[in-house]
Structures are given as C-alpha cells and as structure tokens.
Subunit: 145 residues, 2 copies
DNA sequence: TTAAACCCTAAAGTTGACTTTAGGTAAAGG
DNA sequence: CCTTTACCTAAAGTCAACTTTAGGGTTTAA
C-alpha cells in the first residue's frame, strides 16, 4: 500500500524533483521512509490533491505547509483550517469573476476580427451601430464609457 | 488628449516602472514622445486593456508584443490576430474549468471542517453515509474512486 | 534658489517555484 | 562483474515579470 517517489510521479504528473522539493518544504509531514527511501501512502496521495487545489487557489508553499502542519494537530486547529478554505474559496470566486470578464473581452475580439476579415477593414466593424451588433456582443460590450 | 506616465499609472493601477517596462518590451508601438517624455493617448489606454486581458489569458510579454506588432500592420494580419484570440479563449475556457473544479473541492473542504467542528472530529464526518450528505456535496464529491 | 514633484535611462536585484547538476548508494538483470 | 535503473542529498541555476537603485534632467511653487 505504499508507493515509491517514481510511482507517485507517474500517478500525479508531478516530477520526481518536485515531489522531493515539496517534501523538503514540509508538505508531507510524517512521510515514512524505509532505509532512506520515501514511502508514499494514501495519506500523501490525498495530500497531493489538496496541495494542488490550494496552489491553484493562489496559496504559497509556506502557507500550504502551515495547513499541512495543522492537519497533524487534531481538533484544536479545525477553525484555522476551515477559515483557510473559506478564504481561498473567496479568492477563487474572485479569480473566476476576473476570468469571466477576460473571456468576454476575448469573445468580443474573436467576433471583431472575424467581422474585420469579412468586411475587409477594422473601420467597417467599428462603423456598425450598436443596435446592429449580435446580442451576445451587445451584452458584453467592452470598454467603459 | 494625452496623458503622462504618472497619470496612466493612476488610471490603470499599473506602476510607473511597469509601464516603462512594457514600453521597453515593445508593447506600445508608435508611442509618442515630446522632448523625451512619453505621451499616452487613447490608443495606448485601449492597448493596456488588451495587454491585461491577454496576460490574464496566459500570454507572455513577447507574445503580446507580437500581437501589438500585428495591430500596426493592417488587414494582412487579421487572420493571425483572430487565431490568437481564438486560441487564448480556449486557454481561458480550460482555466475556467480547472478553477471550477478547484472551487468544488474548496466548497467540500469548507463543509467538511464546519461539520468536523460541529461533530467534534473528522472521523465523525467521514462516517456520514454518502446518501446523508447535502446534495451540493454529493454532486461534487471529490476523490476519484 | 532651492526643494518638491515630475520625468528619463541603464543595470542590477527580487521572487517563487521549480529544475538541473554533481556526486553517491543499492538492487536487479544479463 | 558490470551496467542499468531507481533511489538519495546539497547546492547551484533558471525563468518571467517586475522592482529597485543610482544617476541625471526639467518644471513649479514658496
């Protein structure tokens, strides 16, 4: 029920040096070894899922280590852990909103250049009156005025 | 109708050194100067919107410069520009999907620790049978099995 | 007339998250 | 036996996108 670092690497698509680096940074508290060789268990595999998630939410390695340390401390750190997740969720909501706005602008630009190709010039696209634009474009028209 | 670098900085929340850096990297082709001093016009302000957008979509500074160069070249580069935006949109869709999965896991973890606090232990939370979990949690239950 | 508040450049420094390098140990297969 | 393969460490290197530093010019306001 334990895996070597190479096996974990294949399973997770994290490079072997990255896994060693995570270990060095304290992201696998209590990781077992047998004659110097790391033995990864289900606990570490689940840990990696959480690490990836927290990383994508914008948390730094030291802050992830902090969380991992909390997980070794039992019920006295439930609140800290919950607060961390609540905070990171708020961060992710922000990121999602931001990305949606980016998506809208990109969508507009795709349409804009498609029309420019059809009409032969950017000026022709800009000359289209607002109420003649596709609804999709109208609804998410960029540039504050 | 032109702004100094400091005024643009205030308007965009990009630092003055960042704006100079962008200029150095060629992100403002055709930026005017008066006795050595940069004069930002509406064209550059609109450019900054696009730069920010492309950056958030994952494009590097050199690739953004490439795009900015295309914009100076007229209709012969419409296709390249459209393709770029189509590609970046695909990237952003990927990012959005990824972030939504992150959001789901965070949502689960928030619930998990809230329950752990109520019930007094993680074991008690893990012992809840699947069909007794809230629907929200059931639908987005983490960990592939 | 001097100090504050702008503007400018070139070049070096910073940051976080890895990656690479150099050097070494241990088991397995031919 | 010897080569391959997988493991280990410590330390140095990389990368992108800025930021900071050092040095200098010009205009404005007291």
């Amino acid at each position: 029920m334990t895996l070597t670092i190479g096996e974990v690497s294949k399973k997770t698509n994290l490079s072997v040096p990255t896994l060693r680096y995570y270990d060095r940074e304290g992201l696998f508290p209590g990781l077992q070894r047998e004659s110097g060789i790391r033995k990864f268990s289900d606990k570490e595999l689940a840990g990696i899922q959480v690490i990836e998630c927290l990383k994508k939410s914008g948390l730094s390695i030291p802050d992830i280590k902090q969380f991992m340390d909390w997980t070794t401390m039992g019920s006295e750190t439930f609140e800290e852990r919950k607060d961390l997740f609540v905070n990171q969720r708020a961060q992710v909501e922000k990121q999602l909103n931001d990305l949606k706005r980016v998506d809208n602008l990109l969508r507009y630009k795709c349409w804009y250049y498609e029309m420019a190709m059809k009409l032969g010039s950017e000026e022709a696209v800009k000359a289209i009156p607002f109420d003649k634009l596709p609804k999709q474009i109208q609804e998410n028209f960029p540039y504050e005025h």
